[in-house]
């Protein structure tokens, strides 16, 4: 019983770590390039979930100044780190998507195995 209680207490962090590993698993095992980019996005979002979970205060109020003094606010710093982190993950995704367009234009395929096969074939030729 006590383990389930502990499990429920830490559910945010376990969820974040699970998402991180799912993202890593998609990036590593999936063959389609766009699926790998999605895996990268999942990893980014999981770290932001982890950061929010750190800064969360149960019964906390979003950090805008309230009138009555004895209201407790959540920790604002992780939210600022996330605002900066989201833009970073977005720009990395856009860049890898533009590379995928070019790879599709040049090789005609987005599958990682066919790509490595085509590249190895070219190396043998020249």
């Amino acid at each position: 019983m006590q383990i389930i209680q502990a499990f429920v207490d830490h559910i945010n962090f376990i969820g974040a770590v699970a998402l991180f590993l799912i993202g890593l698993h998609t990036v590593v095992t999936k063959k389609n390039l766009i699926k790998r980019i999605m895996g990268l996005n999942i990893m980014g979002t999981s770290i932001f979930l982890f950061l929010v979970a750190i800064g969360n205060v149960t019964g906390g109020v979003p950090p805008i100044l309230q009138q009555d003094p004895n209201v407790n606010y959540i920790n604002p710093i992780p939210s600022v780190l996330i605002l900066t982190g989201i833009v970073v993950v977005v720009s990395m995704t856009v860049y890898s998507l533009s590379l995928t367009i070019k790879i599709y234009e040049m090789y005609g395929t987005i599958n990682q195995d066919e790509l490595t096969y085509l590249i190895r074939e070219e190396e043998i030729h020249d």
């Binding site: 100044l65 833009v87 533009s98 367009i101 234009e105």
Partner: protein
């Protein structure tokens, strides 16, 4: 997508989206939101315009030259505000000690340089989203059937 209904609805809706985006940017230091979320709103309204009216008319609306100016202009203004802090009070990016007016907390014109930075970030995020969207479309067009615009 040259459906008459969709075009007229977007023509109606886009100004309100942009107005709401500007509201969020300007009230960045009072209500939640700020440069990033407001900029995304304005960027999405321009992307909606591109989706509905096609690439070429929207290129006229938000031409390449404008996006270039918005991109480098955003950083120049940001660094300029930082330099004001540097010259007036010796540290880069200082807010109130560098003479930015603090105003009444909670009012629109308060909190020194924060609204200025929010506007700069808003312009930057909006113009980045739109120019990225245009670049990706052009890239895709060249990839599938080069030459057709």
């Amino acid at each position: 997508m040259d459906d008459r209904i969709v075009k007229s609805i977007t023509r109606l809706v886009i100004p309100f989206i942009q107005l709401y985006g500007i509201f969020i940017i300007l009230h960045g230091h009072i209500t939640p939101g700020g440069g990033f979320s407001g900029g995304t709103l304005i960027g999405t309204s321009l992307i909606l315009y591109t989706l509905v009216f096609g690439l070429l008319p929207s290129k006229k609306k938000f031409s390449h030259r404008m996006s270039q100016i918005a991109e480098s202009g955003g950083i120049v203004i940001y660094v300029g505000i930082g330099l004001i802090g540097l010259f007036l009070s010796g540290q880069f990016l200082t807010n109130l000690d560098a003479g930015f007016p603090i105003g009444e907390p909670g009012e629109l014109f308060s909190a020194g340089m924060i609204p200025l930075l929010m506007i700069t970030i808003g312009i930057k995020v909006a113009s980045t989203m739109v120019s990225l969207f245009h670049l990706l479309i052009e890239g895709d067009l060249d990839a599938d059937h080069p030459g057709i615009r």
